[in-house]
Each structure stands twice: as C-alpha cells, then as structure tokens.
Point group: C2
C-alpha cells in the first residue's frame, strides 16, 4: 500500500477542504473514510451512523490510524481490496499533503560517505562516536511539509540546502528492540528532504546540543508511506534533482549502520511510539554541502525513491520576520 | 491555579483508575470533569449528556485543554471559583502524575554559572555560540515521569545525575515572537528534573548532534503547572535535595538569557504549540556534575520551587535489558 494524506483541490475559493487519509491505486486515490462509510451502509448501517463511525475509524492522521493497532491496518487492507468505484477519486482532483504526523522524529547518520564528505573540507577526522553507535539528532515535528509545498526561508538563514534521505514510519510501540525484530515495528518507507540552513546549523552544533534552527524550519516528507511488502528497504534507489538536473543518486544498500540497528538503538531505554518518524540521514553526496551547491528562491527540488514516489518542493523567498538575540558578554551577566 | 493530572489510589487491586485533570486548592483536588458534569446537571442537562460533555471538555490532558483556547481556560477558572464540595477530593486519595503531555520539549541553558561550572574541569572556555544565542537541545516527550515515580536506570548508563530546572508550558500558538510578548504565550511554571547519564551524554555530544540516550530515558516534571499570576517568574526560588540533604539552591533571577528571550528564540521560524514544554536548563550548581555527586539506586531526589511545589523521585535499579551497538570500522564498511 501507498498511504497518504490529501485534500480536495475542487473548491479553491471556498473553505479549505478537510484532509483525508488515502491509499494510492491504479484506479485513483481511495478515500478510506468514504470507503468505510459505503461499506457500513452496504451492510445495513444508518447513514448518519455510518458516516460517524467511518470518520472515527479513518481520521486524517496516520498516527491515529496506527494507534488503532493491527485491526486498523487489517481493516485498511480489506477496504483497499473491496472498495467500490465510488470510493476512488481522480489523483488530479486532490493535493497530497505531508503523509505523517509523528509524535517523535529522529534523524540518523547511517551513511558513512556523507559523514566523510562533510568532514573532509576541515581536514579533521569525523568524531569516533559516529563509529561506536548510530548517532542521530532529534528533529522537529512542528514544521513538516508535504509534496509541492513551498519551503519557507527563515530570516536567520543565510543559505538553504537539501538532504536526500529515506525515512521509516513506526507502526507499533516497542522498547529495547533488537535489530532482528526492528522491522516488525515498521509500517513502511517514505522520502525525506531535510532542508538545512548550514551557517546556523554549524554555529549551533558548536554548542554540542545539536542542530535546532539550522534544521527546524522545514522538513519535506512524502508523497507516500509505502508499506514494506512493496519494496526492499535494503536496496532502495534514491535520487535527487534540482530544477530537473540530477544532483545525487545512490542506494540504501551502502549504509554503515543498517536501518534495523538505527531503529533498535532509537528504542534503547525509551519507547518508540506508533507514527514515529526515523530518518536515515543523508545519502553520500546527497546534499549541496557535499557538491558545493546552494539553493535559490524558486528552485525546484525533487527527491525520489523507486517504488515509493517523488517529493517535489519549491524554495520560497527569505522573510524578514523574526527577532534575533543579541550577543551576551558572560563576564558582565548577573549571576544567580 | 495549580493545574495537574492525578489518578485515584483507592482501588490498588482493581483496574488502573483513569487519570483526571485536577486543580489544587485548600479544599483538596478539584476534579475538573466532575465539576463540569455537576455544573451541567445543575443547569438542566441530562445526566448521560452532562457526563459526555464534561469528559470532552476536560480530558486528562493539559495539551488538549490548552488546544481549546482562551474559552477553555476561562471555563476552568469559572469552575474553580464555583465548584460544589462534591467536586473536590482529598489530596491523599489521589496520586499525582506528570502534569504535561507536550507535543514538543526544548531544554535551554539560560544559566551561565552552570555552563562555566561544566566547562571548568576541562580547562576549556565554553563555546562562543552559547553567548551569541540562547542554545537548547530538543528533549524527548516520550519518557516524562511525574511525582513519586521511580527513575528508570537504563542498561547503557554507567551513572545517573539530576538537574535542577524550572520549565514553562506554552498556552497558545505563536511564531516569530518577540521577547516583550513571549510571556503572553505562557500558561505557567513547573519543576523539572532532567535526569542525565553523563558518560553517554558526553560521548554523544562529541557527535555534535546533541544529547540523546544520555537524557531521554527520564525527565521528571511536576507536581503542578502553576499559572503566571501566582508567581514571579523572574525571581523563582529553586532548591534540590538528595535523601533530605540540600544540594542546590538559587534563583531564576540569575539567568544570562531571560526566559522571554529563550521563548522568543524557540519560536523563531517555527511555531510554538499549545502544551509545548520549555526547560530553563540547569541552575548554577544544580547538578551532581558540578558538585561531584552521583546518584545511587534508592536515592530520593526532591526538587522544589517556592510557590509551585516539590517534585520527588526515587532512583530505580539498573536494568540489563537492551541491545548495544557494536563498534564499526569505517574503512571496512560497504560504501553506497
């Protein structure tokens, strides 16, 4: 299955249409709440009650669906297999949105080539800890954007860059997982573009507290979460293009840290939650940082994974909104 | 108001009682859903409908309450002022739980004395960026614990430490806030103990991606979120004790970065969400790291803020559960 969130583009001048949980198919986009409603009515439910139950069972939230456990996924697959034509909508009648609404989001660095590339200009060796455990930073869940969304350019960002990644969505809770069972907790794979403001990111990382403003203005995710049965997570083919020109290509097969080990480590001593998003980190050569490119307003960035789909975004204009902190001189500060 | 979450301790052998949103008062704990139900019934509502509406309006989630906007807070204050005796419960009949369920959690370093203390042993100056912007790390929302909860000791943690902090809860959404309006977006203050596994934390921080496993096994929060009208956020008196012996004391007045500037910077280029938790970072001298103490199983750690309350936790036993990653040698890894 290719699961996503979409909203109708029919009524551009009216109120904003509500988002819907959808499944992509050759017949168009299957609106799951509509499919469930029709299924209930075909089995004798009163119309108002059918609509209410369908809305509760298939809200526009992948995390809410997954919180329903295996029954909710089984019911989803049953509807996909049995839905009548009236539950499908033409793909062009809907705008895809970000397919995930994760309670937590970690972004790893499983590809050593990216690590080597980013440290090479400084002449320094990467820190040893990157070879002792699968390291990650905790990313923001508040600024995820979907297909075709414009990338906001915050006032503090001197430049913008892209990062080509894949990500997995956690299907069910788990703690202290071992790598051999980690994929049993994964729903599927999506495309991830971790937009970055490099100057801010590198300044922040000197604090050793991790990137924050350098990353948290926008992360693009989509177009689908493709279930594991549809793809081979160990040989995903990823590529990136800017304004139609390919700028990166590679495979998930080249990871220093297998994704199972990243997931297992994410669950060490703390629970993974249904809907959690786990990014792979950048593929070797998958950022402008590594290839001496920066993005400009109006640039179209497209990231693709074969068998999952393409995620296209347009770079917006830099805003001038926003307060900036003033430098402190510690010696003159009041002490507690 | 002192807002919290509590569950009944009456039926230890039966099913786990559901959590309730409560307000502390001299008359005991006001159960807001019960108060709303009684209020509706006193005004002619059918009993079943009164119970249903009260449950929807006052779910056991501070974030859900705040998502209801100003009307929800006004209604809360109206109930606190008018509730009948039947809506109050003796404080000893309920166990307090973690009062917050934040969509996001940032932890700052607003106190320079803590920064200086932690860098002093190395002989190195703190990184300049800590004086250029109010730095923070993104903390986990998955492992928050409440009053009297046992602190889990994960298998990978060679030692455990405490951190004395205050935290604010965001009441309403905002982006690109300026410091002068930041407190208009704050509901109130709570006590925060950012438990830390130092050896893991310092190893991870060498990755520059920020602390992760070194922090994310447990953060204690509570007992209340005390609204800003009850306290002076700029002169909070904080203290910490281990096994009854005071180990730290100080005031929020000594911050290098005023909390308003931390909140404003948190909102730069990304939205704050209702219920978001923002920690101050450790008060100068507020950790065992600074005073050469480590915690032991069975230790009782108590953090207090005058006018807010005391947050007491017991250190648990180290578990042996959990997979550990094996060291990689980059040169022999398969490259993509």
């Amino acid at each position: 299955m290719h699961l996503g969130i979409a909203r109708s583009v029919e009524s551009a001048s009216g109120p904003v249409p509500p988002p819907r949980l959808v499944v992509a198919s050759d017949a168009g986009l299957l609106d799951l709440a509509t499919a469930a409603e029709l299924d209930l009515r075909a089995n004798g439910a009163e119309p108002a009650r059918a609509a209410e139950l369908a809305r509760l069972s298939f809200p526009p939230s992948l995390t809410a669906l997954l919180a329903g456990g295996q029954r909710a996924l089984d019911e989803t697959r049953r509807l996909v297999a049995s839905a009548p034509a009236a539950a499908f909508r033409p793909a062009e009648s809907m705008q895809l949105m970000c397919p995930v609404d994760p309670p937590g989001f970690r972004d790893f660095m499983i590809f050593d080539e990216h690590v080597r590339n980013t440290y090479a200009p400084s002449g320094k060796e990467p820190p040893a800890v990157l070879y002792e455990l699968p390291a990650y930073y905790k990313a923001s869940t508040a600024t995820l954007i979907g297909p075709d969304a414009t990338v906001p350019w915050p006032s503090y960002a001197a430049s913008l860059d892209y990062e080509l990644e894949f990500a997995v969505v956690i299907s069910r809770a788990g703690v202290d997982l071992t790598p051999d069972v980690a994929l049993d907790h994964v729903l599927g794979v999506t495309v991830l573009n971790d937009f970055s403001a490099r100057e801010m990111q590198f300044a922040e990382m000197r604090s050793r507290l991790g990137p924050a403003k350098g990353k948290d203005f926008a992360t693009a995710v989509g177009p689908w979460v493709t279930t594991l049965d549809e793809i081979d997570i160990h040989s995903l083919e990823l590529s990136a293009a800017v304004n139609g020109t390919e700028v990166a290509r590679g495979s998930s097969a080249g990871a220093l840290w297998p994704i199972e080990e990243a997931i297992a480590w994410a669950s060490a001593g703390e629970p993974l939650r249904p809907g959690d998003l786990i990014g792979s980190g950048t593929l070797g050569g998958g950022s402008g940082l590594e290839t001496d490119r920066r993005l400009a307003t109006g640039d179209i960035v497209e990231m693709s994974i074969t068998g999952v789909g393409s995620l296209r975004n347009v770079v917006g204009s830099r805003t001038d909104a926003g307060w900036q902190p003033g430098r402190r001189f510690a010696d003159t500060a009041t002490r507690g």
